[in-house]
Each structure stands twice: as C-alpha cells, then as structure tokens.
Symmetry: C2
Subunit: 302 residues, 2 copies
C-alpha cells in the first residue's frame, strides 16, 4: 500500500468525524454527501445548507492523481512526471453574525520523483471580533502546535497573517490562525510528525468550532449586525476569488466548480465607500483586522 | 495640447452626459461625484445607490500617467518608459430582475514611444434573457459599428463572446455585445475614426439603457425572480474578480479599490449545485448563455 493511500484513508475518516461533530452541534442540519470521480481521482463534497446554526458549510475530501503539467512545474518550481494529492478542506458560514466563519485545510502532495510535502492550517474570520474568542482560538492552536514543535505556532501564525491578507483593503481576512505550505519532511520521523500534526488539526477543528456554535449560535442579533455580516462576507468572497491558492489551483487544474466555490457564503453585500461610524462595533472590528496581533496576550501586555 | 488631453476632455464631458441621462431615466437617484487625485493622475468616481430603478451603478472617469513598469511590459509586450491612459467605465445594476445589468468602457492608452491604442465595448447581462431585448441591443450596436467600419460588429461581437465568458461555468456572462482591446490606429485618419467610434459608443450607452430602464424598471416581480437575480449577480461577481482585466489591472497598478470594486452588485448569492427545473425560466436563460448566438436573427432563421 502506498503511503499516500494510508494518508487518504485517514483523511477520509476525519472528514466523517468532522461532519458528525458539526451536525451534532447544529442539531438540525445534515450534510449531503456528493461522491464524485473523474479521470483524475475521486472525492466526497459534503454540504450543509440552512441548518440551525450553519447557513452554508462544506467539508470536502479529495484524492487525485495526474500528470505534472508545465503549469504546475512553473508554479511549484519542481520537476516531475506525475503527482498525487489528498486533503480535507472545509469552510463553515454561520447564520448568526456573532458566530465566526471558520476555514480548515490539511493536504499532502507527492511527486513521482520522491518529493512530497504537507500543507494546511485553520483560520478564523469573525464578523464581529471578540478578543476573548480570538485568544481562546489561538491558545488552542498553540497547544496543538507545541505538542509537535515549539517553532510551529510562531512560524505558522505569522504565515497565516501574511497569507490571509487583502492588500487592496489593507486588512487581514479575520483574526488569522495558522497556515503552512510545502513543508517537506526531512526524514521518516519528520514525516510521521507532520502527518500526525495535520491529523491533530483536523481533530481540533470541529471541537473548537462547535464551541463557538454553542456560545452564540442562538444569540439575538440586529438588522445592522446582519448587514455588517453581509459586508464582511463580501470581503471573504474577494479573498477567495482574488487570492486563495486552493481556488486558483482547483479551477486551473480542472476541478469541480461547485465543489470549489462551495466556499462562498449564501449571500454577500458590497456598498460603495462604506466607512464605519467612529466608535461603532464595525469600526472596532475593522481596527482589529491587522497583522501581527499577539492574540494570546491581547489586552494583557500594555 | 497633447492629443490625450483632448481625448480625456471629451471623455470627461461624456461621463457627465451619461450621468444626466441615467438620472433622468431613474427619476429619484442622484450620482455622487467623488473627485480623486493621486501621484498618478485624477478622476471622478460617480456612484448612484438606491435609486428608483438603479440599485447600484457607477460611471467612472480617469486620466492617469505613470512609469511603464516591468509588470506592464510583461503583460502588454511593449517597451516604453512611461504611459498615459484615459477612459470611462460604467456598470449599472438595476433593482428589478427584468432590467438587465449593463457595462460600458471606452479607453485610450498611449506610450511615450509613440504606440497608442483604443479599447472598449458595451455588453449586456440580463438576469432573465429576453431575446427581443438582446436583438434590439445587438441591432443598435451593429448600427453604430457599421457607421465606422463594416468589420467592427462581426469582429468585436465575437471578441465579446470570447471575453465575457466564465470557463468554469461553461457559460457567457450575458448576451454579450461588443469588445475590443489594443486596436492601434494605422494613421491619422484611422485615429480619428477610432476616437469617434468610442465617442459614439459612450453616447449610445445611456440611450439604449434608459430604454431598458423605462421598459421594465417598475415591472412587478416575484421572490423567485429576485432569488434568481441574486444568483446571476453571483456569477457577475465571479467574472469581475476572477477574470476581468480592468479589475486586475486596476488592482495591480495601485488603483483606488472602492472605485474599482464599485462594479460589484449591492448583493449576490451562491447556492451549492443549484440546477434549474426543466422548462423553468431559469433554465431557459441558462440555455441562452452561450457563445456565437446570432442575436440579430435569433428565432428568425431556423
């Protein structure tokens, strides 16, 4: 059995675990399971629409193999004849503006020339930033990271700040999280460490998010908060269509459009030149959409 | 006076004419006029939000000069030290799903090495395709084109079909129109012809659109038609963020984000795997979002 088959098997199982945990927390919603297969491979796109807490969410698994194209060579700077890749990718858009949007991805990419790497991360996009939630979120990520390598959290936290950034808006997508890409195992031990790290992230993901669902999933909210949520969703759409590498790579490599763009929210708004009122909750959130905020010590060290 | 100053002066006046005509047709809405200037140049971003017929629309004028960057050299395949560019760009999103979205752009781009070109076009994106409207629209475009050159309409109509296309959806953005880019005048006479052609397009634009505004601006519509409109707007957002060259160029060259993204609708929706019912008006529209439809003779030659 190839190494990647084992990884794919574990990821496939983790997809099911995530689905069960999110369904439990939602209470009403059930994920559909669209199995697909093409000449490149197969996957399962699992989508929940109109749940109690989740308005639109997806947990996707895929396992594909194919020729290593010139385009891939150019993007990745690697030479090979074929590749294989497997991963889980998930985005959850809640109905309630007080529950954050969350995104998680873990992936393994292997070339026939022996080169292989892991990538992934979890990041949080609150519509309305609550520092205590951001702190809890980052603390949980750091705990998992530290179990594997003390360098992971500081390094991958910075990577997330830099990656989940909208340069044209001069703002981060949300409060960040961790992100890493093309981390190549140095040896067998390292491979094992990285694999177990991605598994731990996929396990943490539904646990931490079901906490947020329970906390604010049924919180009363105002029309103004809903409008702000729609504008924040607009920024999320901008990031995913303008910058997200997974979206770009998926579209270019002929992936299934509905599976790729299921990451977009059920709706989003754009208003020309919207400037939040001074002192408003909207302004407060906007001012916290910055890189290099030490969320774990936020408010403690000034 | 440089040639481009004269062109910019004419375009600036045309922007005002377009605004007056659309305001008249709307009855209620007034365009705001945001004058901006940076080290690159200046412009006026005119935006109408929440009119009677227009929900969100913009008519932008700009006139910029700057260094010809390596990035521009790579994209355009031209060598120069500096460039100057002026143009009008407009998108109108109506409230009513029975009124189409329209887009117009005319532009002139000149390099300090003597090379210069015109570009532009008008294209129509009905939420619900009505062949009679598409025919009228294409007939008007053809009439204007034919006044200048019999080759313009067939050539630029095809160019619009190819350009306003969403490959990942296998569908055109709407019923097309005309599009041309980097058309270089061969001589003085040709320059004059192309300039007057862009002027005529900018003149036709509000005339033809105010017709559509009057026709269906107050037509009663159903919740289902509004939902379909929101999904069609989602496709419009996808095109503008994933493929539109003006958006990409504007963002990369450090343009004003609010002026560039004012092209996005007030709201848009995405639903996973929405498949229109057989025989529904949604399906009928989707089946007409194809390249190479001869709209002028649509339904007459079968």
């Amino acid at each position: 059995m190839h190494r990647i088959d084992k990884i794919a098997g574990t990821y496939r199982q983790l997809q099911q675990d995530i689905i069960r945990c999110i369904e439990d927390a939602d209470g009403l919603g059930n994920f559909s399971n669209d199995q697909w297969s093409t000449e490149l491979g197969s996957g399962v796109t699992s989508v929940l629409q109109e749940g109690t807490v989740i308005e639109k969410g997806a947990v996707n698994f895929s396992f594909v193999k194919g020729n290593f194209t010139d385009r891939m060579e150019k993007i990745l700077g690697e030479k090979a004849r074929s590749y294989a890749a497997t991963g889980i990718s998930s985005i959850l858009h809640p109905e309630n503006p007080w529950v954050p949007i969350i995104h998680m991805n873990v992936r393994y990419f292997a070339l026939d020339n022996g080169t292989a790497w892991f990538g992934g991360g979890i990041d949080l996009t609150p519509h309305i930033v609550e520092p205590a939630d951001a702190r809890l979120f980052h603390q949980s990520l750091k705990e998992v990271c530290d179990r594997f390598d003390a360098s992971f959290y500081p390094e991958y936290k910075k990577w997330a700040d830099d990656y989940f950034f909208l340069p044209h808006r001069h703002e981060t997508r949300g409060v960040g999280g961790i992100f890493f890409d093309r981390v190549k195992p140095a040896n067998e031990e390292d491979f094992d460490k990285l694999f177990r790290f991605t598994v731990s992230l996929a396990e943490l993901y539904p646990v931490i998010y079901s906490g947020f669902m329970k906390k604010n999933g049924r919180r009363p909210c105002t029309e103004r908060e809903k409008q702000w949520q729609a504008l924040r969703r607009g920024r999320y759409v901008e990031f995913n269509l303008l910058f997200d590498r997974g979206t770009k790579f998926g579209m270019e490599s002929g992936g299934n459009t509905e599976s790729i763009l299921v990451s977009l929210p059920a709706n989003a708004s754009w208003e020309y030149n919207f400037i939040p009122e001074a002192g408003s909750f909207e302004e407060e959130t906007q001012q916290m959409l910055k890189k290099n905020i030490d969320w774990i010590n936020f408010g403690h060290n000034s």
